[in-house]
Symmetry: C2
Subunit: 343 residues, 2 copies
Amino acid sequence: MAKSRVLVVGTGGIGTMSAYALEQGGLAEVTAVMRSNYDAAVNNGIDIDSVLWGQIKGWRPTAITKTVPDASQGEVAPFDYILVTTKNIPDVPPTVSDLIAPAVTPGKTAIVLSQNGINIEKPLITRFPKNPLISSVAYTGATETAHAKIYNDDPDCQKIGAFTNPQVPADIAAKAAKHYVHIYNPTGTLEVTYDADVAAVRWRKIAYNASFNPISSILRMDTPRMRMTEHVITDLILPIIAEIREIAYAAAGVTLPEDVVKKVLHQDPNDTAFKPSMCQDLEKGNLMEIENLVGEPLREGERVGVSAPTLRIVYGIMKALQVKVREDKGLWEARFQPDNPYE
Amino acid sequence: MAKSRVLVVGTGGIGTMSAYALEQGGLAEVTAVMRSNYDAAVNNGIDIDSVLWGQIKGWRPTAITKTVPDASQGEVAPFDYILVTTKNIPDVPPTVSDLIAPAVTPGKTAIVLSQNGINIEKPLITRFPKNPLISSVAYTGATETAHAKIYNDDPDCQKIGAFTNPQVPADIAAKAAKHYVHIYNPTGTLEVTYDADVAAVRWRKIAYNASFNPISSILRMDTPRMRMTEHVITDLILPIIAEIREIAYAAAGVTLPEDVVKKVLHQDPNDTAFKPSMCQDLEKGNLMEIENLVGEPLREGERVGVSAPTLRIVYGIMKALQVKVREDKGLWEARFQPDNPYE
């Protein structure tokens, strides 16, 4: 059986770890789209320092490209899978759909979204109505410490299942998801598993991502200090988790069990000043994944009549912090004027 | 008639402007407590660059002291008034009461609190039950640009009236307040006026101070940009103003008229990147006046059953930002530990 052709878009920590695992499994050949790290990878290969794979030096996937290849004109063979691990920031172009469109063969390519958040599949359903859409929720700690240098300090843990794409039969989508798990983890030694209940998996992760991520960003505070400052937990984190549980149930029929609260509070180490990714992004001046982690859960709540005051106010604050990031990047311009628009 | 003896505690912008005005009026002699700016004032006098008074060079009040004088042992003559213009931060010692206590002659000294916030008189009622307590709400733009150098770009505008102190007859308290206005503004040329409705004056200012101050601090954003980022106004500022209006009415019987909203939105200039004082404090690493501007209005709401979700969440955030300021000042210590207290 021919190897599956996988295009990996987004070769930061998790994208590179996935590319490596897929090729190690022997059932996939990976084309990696590399942008800022292209030269480093082509010239010297990729270095991976991993709790899982050990010290890898100078590794290269089957192919490296600088841009998303165009599979529509026969320049490259069609891809069986596109794995997307970029940050998902729909408020700033390009969208994920625009980014990957050239490489998507309609009716064939299965698109794996290894990204956080709720409703991230919605724009892809519209754009790629005949393609299986696959959800991967990763709890893998991996970061790019320099161009093409990856530090991976957690086991690779992913839960994978099919999103609903109405024009794709459910069994076809599930088969594509299961096959992806198979080529990723053929020997079953990784914690990369099939989980059909995509909604439950995603809402479970939102309980953390909609609480600790924005609150740590607003406070620019690590999570141990948030716990030491106890009122941050009681006044801000716990109310958001409660709101997410209510929304998950009302909007998606997902019951997040009581112990989710304790698990979310525990998720991070207590002995080092760990800051969640959104806070790291803000402090680095990077755009933040606000819409899919905070905005969409809030809108799901509004859709089904669940008031979520904490989430709503936190979302308002985060949107304004994003404006500042956009301004620093030249994507938003302040226009001072003598007259007050509210006059 | 002998001049009134006034002790001014807090000689930043407004304190110094007040000290100068009081001595200019010819009816008061001022003792100014100067701390960081003591040497500069003693050696070179105080420079004031004022829209109101012009260029003043090397001015000195009647007396300058480094600490609050002790009036209890006859070291100094009793004070008729103590004007307090320090920041009011009850969460970090010393309290205002502790600070001024040595200079307060029971039953004689009237204490003028030229500070923002709600319920700031409460601790003083307990501590100084026989002294008139006077409220000054100032809209005077004055800042200390260097030690003993004041820049004043707004007319001196203050509304002055008596707080209720149960053991002090209301007419005595009112008389003390009116006399203070008289010695401050004997010719009536300043916008420093008597207003008996202290609660209305204070809640009116809270509408700004509980909204723009904390939100600008959380966002580290100037007020024109907050208005440009329209959702900041609609999602954060307007809800807080609405909550304050509701609390003011329910807790203090104060009706803040509809046009307060427009006036608060207008209060700051639109053509320069002005940041409210709390935001300036945060960015300078100074402690912020959170309790009297945000915490007390919220607690007043809770007392009378007004839910104020925006104010509540914003208060939670501000308290945590204050923890960071306290940590930077060595007033709070992070204690990392292996075990999670929520386990």
